[in-house]
Symmetry: C2
């Protein structure tokens, strides 16, 4: 299996994504929030790039969620805090969502064979599903306005670490798993930071900014490694909790 980690949306070339399993990561906060919504009973998340697209796609019973500049968009039902996405607020609904970086990354991945939404919350579940799918894996870090964000690197590193660990346990030789240099760097960074992911997230530029804007609890929530055992997948433009087929 080949595993590549790409540091930002801008650096992803569409032809590199074709027919692969692409795991899109936006730890603070888009993919973490989408996961929280689905884990709390939301039926589907429709990620779109613009506020206008979100409004156009809103059917009766749909909720609008997302942020610009970290804050809820005027007229939207929900912002981008995972804490807002409770069973009471999103259970049984469909959510149309737009965020600055995460939903853009998902759209960029459209040419992929399979698209999963990953974060620290579901790193292990993503790794397991990627293994079962058996394709080459690309982990696409959303970053922030085309700059690398360390929290996404930690999410990517957590998934690489799981995949490498699983290959090792299966007794596969090093040659059967090739990780690109950026992926090796993220795997090692995760290993160093994993005992204090909360601290690492607060050291990141986005973690510091969110804390200064009053979203400290969001950063703590998003640092919870493997708290959600699900690897949602994009199916016909909608992010769904699809089961992982048996290996």
């Amino acid at each position: 299996m080949n595993i590549s980690v790409i540091p930002t949306i801008q650096e992803a070339r569409v032809e590199e994504l074709r027919r692969k399993t692409v795991i899109v990561i936006d730890v603070l906060r888009a993919t973490s929030t989408m996961l929280a919504a689905l884990a709390n009973g939301c039926h589907a998340v429709i990620p779109v790039e613009t506020v206008e697209q979100a409004k156009e796609l809103q059917l009766p019973g749909h909720l609008l969620g997302g942020e610009r500049g970290c804050r809820r968009i005027p007229g939207f039902d929900l912002g981008n805090s995972p804490a807002e996405y409770t069973p009471q607020s999103v259970g049984g609904t469909v959510l149309v969502m737009t965020t600055t970086n995460g939903t853009r990354a998902i759209r960029k991945a459209e040419q992929a064979g399979r698209i999963l939404a990953g974060s620290l919350l579901n790193a292990r579940a993503c790794a397991r599903k990627a293994q079962v799918l058996g394709r080459e894996v690309v982990i696409l870090c959303s970053g922030t306005r085309d700059i690398f964000s360390f929290e996404d690197g930690l999410g990517a590193g957590a998934i690489v670490d799981e995949l490498v660990g699983a290959a090792y346990e299966a007794g596969q030789s090093g040659d059967s798993l090739q990780v690109n240099d950026f992926g090796l760097a993220m795997m090692h960074a995760f290993r160093s930071a994993k005992d204090n992911l909360e601290g690492a997230l607060f050291a990141c530029e986005n973690g510091r900014r969110l804390a200064s804007l009053g979203f400290r609890e969001d950063v703590i929530f998003c640092s919870r490694l493997n708290a959600i055992d699900a690897a949602p997948e994009i199916v016909e433009g909608r992010l769904l909790l699809t089961p992982t087929p048996p290996s």
Copy 2:
């Protein structure tokens, strides 16, 4: 102090380098080899981008060194293996050197206030000199044809780790030292890999390629953390062993 690590030459913007201390890193092998040359008595290394420039600048008594495709350039005295740069071969000489990535990174840094050549071999010495110089620090990873190379990230991470450790020992608060997200990632990656840097370098794409071409000993040499206590600096186009002023 602000510290930024930049993953590749391509991503460095000249205006970000002005008036700063720029530490150029090419662990495999350009800056490691230049260090070996200077530590073994070479008076100065003149880094140039092209083979033609190297030949034009060669005065009597100058040696030509460098590589293309990892191998010695036809007609040159020396290749890019640090093992070739012994006291016998380079003592008392001036070396004109061109390599695929490292010398290009040094030229790109020309607008910087001060330019140091760094690697794993002299991470501590680079950190100490950067501290004394007191400017903002940019650590520029050479990469390989505009792709990030993990070994350069480890060199950068080693320097960040030294700077952060020194600030901590000096009792400075976290606010006095700001590290960009990529620098935090490299610092953590270094901390995870530091007990087996040789293994980490052999896992990198460049380490694997050099081993396959017969340069295994070079990779081992370049993995030796803080083996050389010098932070050479570019002065009027020449890399020299300048003393670190007292702090």
